[in-house]
């Protein structure tokens, strides 16, 4: 062990000799606390010069920053100048510090705590012995503390209103419009494509509004019996808000090569909840615990699309407990 320790020390010595280029090898054992603050340090003049040059380089960078700010304002130039100024200055300081030899052997005693009498805990408990009705007071203090704590917390209730369940804007006969307010036309939707639609005339910035409209090959459809007539020419509509964590279900996976690729599905880009569009928006993969709510569709006489009823289920995350 001692041998190993000496070997490590020698290694350190060797590295310092290589690096520092100073004349005197440091003593093998750390010196005792020096009274004269100068005694233990020597500085390398070459490194002092290098540090000065680097500091002036830093100054040039800072002036370049001022010039770039006044003349151009270009972000890259500003960053380059300011960054270079700081880095040069910092390297200069470290070069100067590294040129100080014999500085890394300073010793400081670590005063270890001595057991004191009386112990700190006793300083608390012993004087309290003068109090006779300890249990009564502790109980009273506990009740007072809890009550005051409760009184302090109660105003926090003002931060938020009690959750109000909003109402979905979708109802029988509500027409689907696109993001520009134009009616969504059934024949304009190509197979394999999808778009976002809103209820005509309703607020778009509520969770219940946006639906994703997809069109798939009708032969792929496999809806439960009560949803057989919820699609129009293979066009289906689902809530666009993921039932997992409220993101927009923004991707349609539409298989290009059926034999090896999985079926058509809506995918949420946040946590990959995957919903089966061929079958009532059921969860195929990912963390969502609930199907994507579906909106029954009907074709209007003018070729547009409208809701044939309300959304199949509460929209949004958390079991639709807080919902529009």
């Amino acid at each position: 062990m001692k041998r190993l320790a000496r070997a490590v020390l020698a290694l350190v010595t060797l590295r310092m000799l290589r690096r520092g280029g100073h004349k005197h090898a440091p003593p093998a054992e750390p010196p005792p606390e020096a009274e004269d603050p100068r005694a233990e340090l020597t500085s390398d003049p070459a490194r002092e010069l290098a540090a000065a040059v680097l500091a002036l380089g830093g100054a040039a960078g800072a002036l370049a920053f001022v010039a770039a700010y006044l003349l151009s304002g270009d972000t890259q130039l500003l960053g380059l100048a300011a960054g270079a100024a700081c880095v040069l200055l910092g390297v200069g300081m470290i070069v100067l510090s590294a040129g100080l030899a014999g500085q890394d052997r300073a010793v400081e005693e670590r005063p270890l705590p001595q057991p004191e009498v009386p112990a700190a805990g006793e300083l608390v408990t012993a004087p309290a012995d003068a109090i006779t009705r300890k249990k009564l007071l502790a109980g009273a203090a506990g009740i007072a503390g809890a009550s005051i704590g409760a009184a302090l917390i109660v105003p926090a209730a003002s931060l938020g209103p009690a959750p109000a369940l909003g109402r979905s804007p979708w109802a029988d006969g509500r027409q689907l419009v696109d993001e520009n307010g134009e009616p969504v036309m059934a024949d304009a939707i190509e197979t394999g494509s999808f778009l976002t639609a809103y209820p005509r005339g309703a607020d778009r910035d509520i969770l219940g509004s946006p639906v994703v409209v997809v069109r798939i090959d009708p032969a792929m459809l496999n809806p439960p019996p009560d949803r057989r007539d919820w699609s129009v020419q293979g066009i289906l509509a689902f809530s666009k808000i993921c039932t997992h964590a409220g993101c927009a279900v923004a991707m349609l996976r539409y298989p290009l090569y059926r034999p090896t690729e999985p079926g058509p599905a809506l995918v949420c880009p946040c946590h990959y909840s995957t919903f089966d569009v061929t079958r009532a928006g059921e969860v195929l993969f990912g963390p969502a615990g609930r199907s994507l709510p579906q909106l029954p569709l009907r074709r209007r006489s003018d070729g547009g699309l409208e809701a044939a009823g309300p959304m199949s289920d509460a929209v949004g995350p958390a079991q639709g407990r807080v919902d529009w």
Partner: protein, 458 residues
């Protein structure tokens, strides 16, 4: 001149001996001791750049048609928050530099804290008498992650809004109180309530920075009172510290590090684009971004949400929504373990003595194995948080990725634990240094002043 100034301060603070002790304070030398300093100096940059940003940012979700400096967005309905964040990037000179430097500093801040934490865990620096400082450090990590999340949520761009929508869903998912907790924090439904913006703002620019500054002050005071830990070495004992004094050696080195950290962050801020909110667009609840990654330190939570199987169990009539497991339970357990780590160590190792000398990771195989196993348990979901990038880079579908990583989440911590245990034991027993590339000859100094080759007899 300078000595008279310092004398003057010393005379007026004499009983505390602040100046004397401060100047003569000894810092033990080891590169890993600089990780915490990098975090500290990133915080300094964060405060400086953050103050600049507050002069230009408007925390309001009221909407106006955008008419500012970035032409492609003209006429689009945006919030004041989004519009002012875009304008301070394009219209305010040096604004984009400050914004991007601020963002980069936040990323480095958390990264440095984590590296520092890993050093603490692997060397046993959290042991008595430093448990309190360990808890303060863990609290700073948790607070820092929250602060970063609030920071990138403020500009009300698409990425911000999606993050807030997920956070709102997570708040709602807390059993029993969730459907009250979400609206309580957000001041109503999200999206819909604009109250959240000024709330996040005051927490982000005042409350958490003050909290962090206070915690940093206590953390550093505790370090100085107990003095630094040090690795074992010649002359180093539990009763002393050997290293470089504060003045001049360490102060120069540390200030140099401050300047370099600031410089590198400014270089990143100026040259490497981060969070281009004008490309993401304003938040729209019906829009989804794709291929955009939130800040890296959110990855473990996103991954945990992704890896959770689709269960929403009903227990005693209360249904637990799925985001609770990945978004609340997982981080609660992770931070629970982190906060109680020193006490778990005491419990298992039954070592109650104070320690000022550090262990090399190999010298305490069980501790190192536990630390890396724990880290793996957090890193697997972190990798799942980058599944988009893995798909783009390696063309592996998300279903296969998630399936494999669900298994890895359970298996890998144990594998890493056992592997680390074996590696540490062998390294300790054989004394090998496989990572050290230096192949020179070790020499010993003899009593007479000469040198001889050391270790030749082995």
């Amino acid at each position: 001149m300078i000595d008279r100034l310092v004398d003057g301060i010393d005379e007026r603070t004499g009983p505390m001996r602040l100046v004397r002790r401060g100047l003569r304070y000894v810092f033990p030398d080891h590169w890993s001791f600089l990780l915490g300093e990098i975090a500290l100096y990133s915080f300094v940059v964060l405060v400086a750049t953050g103050i600049y940003l507050t002069f230009f940012f408007e925390p309001s979700l009221d909407k106006v048609p955008y008419q500012g400096a970035y032409r492609p967005l003209h006429g689009v309905e945006v919030s004041h928050a989004y519009g002012s964040a875009v304008d301070l990037s394009f219209h305010v000179k040096a604004g984009l530099l400050m914004r991007q430097t601020h963002h980069w500093a936040a990323l480095v801040f958390i990264a440095a804290i984590l590296c520092h934490l890993l050093r603490i865990l692997l060397t046993g620096a959290y042991r008595k008498p430093r448990e309190i400082n360990h808890i303060i450090g863990a609290a700073m990590l948790a607070t820092g992650i929250l602060e970063g999340f609030l920071g990138y949520s403020l500009p009300d761009d698409l990425l911000s809004g999606m993050g807030l929508a997920i956070a709102y869903s997570v708040a709602l998912s807390v059993p029993v109180i969730g459907d009250r907790l979400g609206p309580l924090i957000w001041g109503g439904q999200y999206p819909g309530s604009g109250v959240i913006e000024p709330r996040m703002y005051i927490v982000h620019v005042l409350i958490i920075p003050l909290l962090l500054a206070g915690l940093i002050a206590v953390h550093l005071t505790m370090v100085a009172l107990l003095k630094h830990t040090q690795f074992p070495g010649p002359g180093r004992t539990e009763r002393n510290v050997i290293g470089t004094r504060m003045w001049p050696g360490y102060a120069l080195r540390s200030l140099g590090l401050l300047a370099i950290v600031a410089g590198v962050l400014l270089l990143l801020g100026g040259l490497v684009q981060i969070n281009p909110i004008w490309q993401y667009g304003p938040y729209d609840l019906a829009a989804g971004s794709n291929g955009v990654q939130p800040d890296w330190y959110m990855g473990w939570l996103i991954g945990a949400l992704r890896l959770m199987p689709p269960v929403e169990p009903t227990i005693l009539g209360i249904t637990v929504p799925n985001p609770f497991f990945g978004g609340v339970l997982f981080p609660a357990i992770a931070f629970g373990i982190l906060f109680t780590w020193p006490f778990l160590d005491r419990l298992i190792s039954t070592d109650r003595r104070p320690h000022h000398l550090l262990d090399r990771p190999r010298d305490a195989p069980a501790r190192s194995a536990a630390a890396l196993g724990f880290a793996t348990w957090v890193i697997v979901p972190f990798i799942a948080g980058a599944s988009d990038r893995i798909f783009v880079t390696f063309d592996i579908g998300y279903e296969l990725q998630v399936t494999l990583m669900r298994v890895a989440w359970v298996v890998m911590p144990a594998v890493v634990f056992l592997l680390t245990l074996q590696v540490c034991r062998r390294l300790r027993d054989r004394g090998e240094r496989p990572l050290r590339g230096w192949d020179g000859t070790v020499v010993e100094r003899t009593e007479t002043g000469g040198f001889r080759t050391a270790g030749g007899g082995d």
